[in-house]
């Protein structure tokens, strides 16, 4: 017996008995394996991805280029070239020698007729359908899960499992429903509750009065034949009061109560600032996009829903949609200050207030003039940073530049200090993840 009998096995015939009088051995058992741990195929799946990692990564990169930042985190269909996927077998060359074959579904042909030969690569050979030969298909499409996609996206680095408390967890006061109160605004009155309280009050009072009346009646009975007049009077008064209890009194009134409680801020917005001047080439934009996408994924995990604002700048700054942000080439010089100002205005107008978590990520190759750099740094320090949870600046120096010299903007930002500000330089794709982790792990250490 190769496999263990299972919990759900239900033998109903003894196979020995059954086979004794007939050759049918019959049912041994029905085993329910539906609850077995899934993913036996996962091993082979992972092997496939490992083997064709380069192709898959290229396809995932292409896919990444096409996708919006918000969609990067989803899994999806990937298509890789079919070459190399084929499992080769020796086959005959159909253009040599002669062969006979049989096909079904003849409707018109008689012996002696001829049919033009299908082109190579076409179907229609009668050579049976021996499975597994596969052949080389043009491309091989399959679906990647979210995790697999992210793993490829971040070059085999796992998505951070950063704790919620790791950085910038800000809470705010929020009024929440908190029971009932006796005072309040008329608009918060709860009529049903009030009437119920009235009923309760009347029941309670009537009971209490009745007890008192019974007590007095007992005294009357003890007091002898001519009952004391004051007692009878008292009883009559109490009876009258018991009958005429007011329907509602002030004490019955109940209002909705609201109490202030501390709640984590739940809304988040992320502003992507990018220099799109001529010096930012596709490579730099791709790195920036990866960083933005990573930040988006991270914030999304944290907040659930994140709004994204794109601000691009050359000498002037403007708010654009994602498509134009990444793909619309611009020419011109570089001024950082207008972009920071625009970001400031956007935050002031739309995302002010304690319940917004505002994150700003700035990507630039660091070109700027000295004057612009100084103004930007000062503006950032004084005006923008106080509104933000976090400001991350990533510096993407030109790959051909001097390696050791910091960029102009980098140098200008030297003056900024504070827990909300962080900056890193990114040289190639492999840097993105470590830089990201560094940026967001820093605060815990602080």
């Amino acid at each position: 017996m190769p496999r263990k009998p299972d919990r759900e096995s239900t033998p109903y015939t003894d196979p020995q008995d059954a086979s004794a009088d007939s050759p049918i051995a019959g049912l041994l058992r029905i085993v329910d394996r539906r609850s077995d741990p899934p993913g036996r195929g996962a091993v082979n799946r992972e092997r496939f991805i490992r083997r064709f990692k380069d192709d898959i990564k290229r396809a995932a990169d292409e896919e990444f280029g096409k996708r919006s930042i918000k969609d990067v985190g989803r899994g999806g269909r990937i298509s890789i070239p079919g070459r190399g996927l084929a499992e080769p077998r020796l086959t005959h060359d159909d253009d040599s020698g002669s062969r006979d074959f049989v096909l079904p579904g003849n409707r018109e042909y008689l012996p002696g007729d001829s049919i033009s030969r299908p082109r190579r690569g076409g179907e229609g050979e009668g050579d049976g359908d021996d499975a597994g030969s596969g052949g080389s298909t043009d491309s091989f499409g399959f679906a990647l899960s979210r995790e697999e996609f992210l793993a490829l996206f971040f070059d085999d680095l796992e998505l951070p499992n950063l704790e919620r408390t790791r950085f910038g967890e800000m809470s705010m006061e929020r009024m929440r429903r908190g029971g009932y109160s006796r005072e309040g605004l008329a608009s918060n009155l709860l009529p049903g509750m009030t009437v119920r309280m009235g009923i309760a009050r009347r029941i309670a009072l009537r009971g209490a009065l009745l007890e008192r009346i019974e007590e007095l009646e007992g005294e009357v009975a003890q007091a002898g034949d001519p009952p004391p007049a004051e007692l009878l009077e008292e009883i009559a008064r109490l009876r009258a009061r018991r009958e005429h209890l007011p329907f509602l009194e002030d004490v019955d009134r109940r209002y909705r109560s609201r109490v202030p409680t501390a709640a984590p801020a739940t809304r988040a917005v992320m502003l992507c600032l990018m220099d799109v001047s001529g010096s930012m080439d596709e490579r730099k934009k791709d790195l920036a996009k990866r960083f933005f996408a990573l930040l988006y994924l991270f914030l999304e995990r944290k907040y659930g829903r994140v709004e994204v604002i794109f601000v691009r700048h050359t000498e002037t700054a403007e708010e654009v949609d994602e498509e134009r942000f990444f793909h619309d080439p611009q020419t011109g010089g570089t001024l950082v200050h207008p972009a920071l100002e625009l970001a400031y205005r956007i935050v002031q107008e739309r995302y002010a207030g304690p319940d917004w978590n505002v994150y700003v990520a700035q990507a630039s190759d660091g070109d700027c003039t000295g004057e612009d750099g100084r103004r930007s740094a000062a503006f950032l320090q004084q005006d923008l940073l106080p509104l933000l949870r976090y400001f991350a600046y990533i510096d993407i120096p030109s790959s051909s530049g001097w390696f050791n010299r910091a960029s102009d903007l980098w140098q200008s930002y030297d003056v900024i200090e504070g827990p909300v500000f962080a900056r890193r330089a990114v040289h190639d794709r492999g840097d993105i993840w470590p830089v990201f982790r560094e940026l967001f792990a820093r605060k815990q250490a602080a």
């Binding site: 196979p15 029905i30 195929g41 006979d100 049989v102």
Partner: protein, 536 residues
């Protein structure tokens, strides 16, 4: 149920409806199978509707077993396993085996099947049954009652009986040992990966997979699989290597081992089992690599009979589910809705699109096999004059005997050669074409379904199912023991069909990876002349 016309779509309108058939006059062809007259029917079906429980399945299995026993089916005990759709996908990807060593090609088939399934382009396999004892048949939880019973009859009784009866399976596979062996294979491959790295293991397995069709003893009964013996042998081999291997004297050992071989070099018998030859004689393979070669060879050997009996196996299983479910209906154990439902699925399975339609994917083994087996029964029960002429020994004999004989003693090519009747050729409108060197732009129709053509069509179709027709024959012709250590392979060319140059080049590359020295492949014509030569 005896003589209902199937709905294969290519059947001719029946010219002379049998007067004995009980259906109303208006219908020329039955749309619902009618119960056989004169059979005692149950008042109530065993179950109705499409829901099922373990209890209902058991009751149905008992009912099927009763009919199967009456009709003389011989089966292994059956174990049904209920699985989910994703488990079915997993199973399909590892050629139906619940245990298998890990390899990327299984992942590839998993991904593509999953993709197709999610997109709704392909359905899932209805059934998978494993040639083991007890036979394991998988029931997918999303199937309706009718489908479950269909699968039980098809896999649990049809395939099961074929596995137990057919001479190839009896001769070549040990049904009770394969799962244990695969378990061993899986853990061995895993150990190798840990010890030698997955890249190494994968490249050896890739090579072996490409050569798997040449890892089979076609005429000799293979030794019994036994995990215990396998482990013992392996340990001994590894221990010996550890104890005796000394790099300084390695050449001495090698020489010593090669000595008997050198003698036999004079009269080298051509060997058809290429993987066996590599396992035993490849000069530079590590012991664990030899072991991997052996594993692929053993697995290939296990599946060898299945490759040879696609039509016969599926045909028999389809015939038996068709027969058994009709028996259930005749006995009143299932209702009309049940019949209508599974007949729909059955019709899909045995559909044979004509060669010029978009849906054509070659001959459907289910359709061909089912037609052949059903015609055997028809010939036994209602022979015509033609049948008496073509199948004198079959006409009028009891059909269960005839079917049993056909299941026992044939593989695809011989089954077709023996049993493909003129009626089936007419129904399927088979015709034979010739593709010759004289005219590369056209196929020429040489025979169709008429008196003059029956024999030709039959022989050609049978030839098409010989394994040589789709797997080129390769033999190891010589392994020289000289300094070059080249391996000489030969392809016996039949009717001028050479090897596809590209596939030959790729596969030779794989052989070379295992052999580690030059490999030469000659193509030898029937007259012994060398037609072409491939080198690595």
């Amino acid at each position: 149920m005896t003589e209902t016309e199937g709905n294969t779509g290519t059947t001719e309108p029946s010219a002379n409806p049998d007067p004995q058939r009980p259906w109303p006059k208006l219908l020329t062809k039955p749309t619902v199978p009618m119960p056989r007259p004169g059979v005692q029917r149950r008042g109530e079906p065993i179950a109705t509707g499409s829901e099922w429980t373990l209890g209902t399945l058991e009751k149905y299995d008992r009912a099927i077993a009763a009919h199967a026993g009456r009709l003389g089916l011989d089966t292994y005990p059956i174990q049904y396993e209920l699985i989910t759709a994703s488990q079915m996908l997993d199973l399909c990807s590892t050629v139906g085996m619940p245990v298998h060593y890990a390899h990327w090609s299984f992942g590839k088939s998993l991904l593509s099947q999953e993709h197709g399934y999610r997109k709704g382009m392909t359905g899932l396999a209805y059934e998978i049954v494993i040639n083991t004892s007890p036979s394991i048949a998988y029931l997918m939880e999303t199937n309706t009652l009718a489908l479950q019973v269909l699968v039980m009859a098809h896999a649990g009784y049809g395939h099961n009986a074929f596995f137990k009866t057919n001479y190839l399976f009896r001769q070549f596979t040990q049904a009770d040992a394969i799962l244990d062996y695969l378990q061993f294979a899986r853990s061995f491959v895993q150990e190798c990966e840990e010890q030698y790295g997955w890249r190494e293991v994968e490249s050896v397995l890739d090579c072996c997979h490409a050569l798997a069709p040449y890892g089979v003893d076609r005429y000799r009964r293979p030794a019994r699989l036994s995990v215990k013996r396998e482990r013992a042998r392996l340990n001994e081999r590894l221990k010996f290597a550890e104890k005796h291997y000394n790099p300084d004297f390695a050449h001495l050992h090698m020489h010593e081992r090669d000595e008997p071989e050198a003698e036999s070099l004079e009269a080298f018998d051509p060997q058809e089992n290429l993987l066996y030859f590599i396992e035993k004689h490849a000069p530079k393979l590590q012991p664990w690599q030899r072991e991997l070669v052996r594993i692929v060879r053993k697995v290939s050997q296990y599946f060898y009979p299945q490759r040879l009996t696609k039509v016969a196996n599926e045909g028999a299983a389809t015939f038996w589910h068709y027969t058994l479910l009709n028996e259930l209906y005749d006995a009143g154990e299932v209702d009309d809705g049940f019949m209508l439902e599974w007949l729909g699925n059955h019709g899909d399975v045995v559909a044979q699109p004509p060669f010029d339609s978009r849906g054509f994917r070659g001959l459907n083994p289910y359709a061909l096999g089912f037609s052949i087996f059903r015609d055997i029964r028809r010939i036994c029960e209602l022979p015509t004059d033609e049948d008496r002429e073509w199948f004198p020994s079959l006409a009028g004999t009891p059909w269960p005997e005839a079917i049993r004989f056909a299941m026992t003693n044939f593989k695809d090519d011989s089954l077709i050669e023996q049993y493909l009747s003129p009626k089936v050729m007419r129904d399927m409108r088979l015709f034979m074409m010739h593709d010759g060197e004289d005219d590369r732009d056209h196929y020429h129709v040489h025979a169709i379904h008429n008196e003059a053509g029956y024999t030709k069509v039959r022989q050609t179709l049978a030839g098409q199912y010989r394994s040589e027709a789709y797997i080129p024959t390769i033999v190891v012709a010589r392994a020289s023991d000289d300094a070059e250590r080249a391996l000489l392979l030969q392809h016996r060319v039949e009717s001028g069909r050479l090897l596809d140059a590209q596939s030959a080049e790729t596969v030779l590359g794989y052989v070379k990876q295992l052999w580690k020295f030059d490999v030469v492949l000659e193509e030898i014509g029937s007259d012994g002349r060398r037609l072409k030569i491939h080198r690595t």
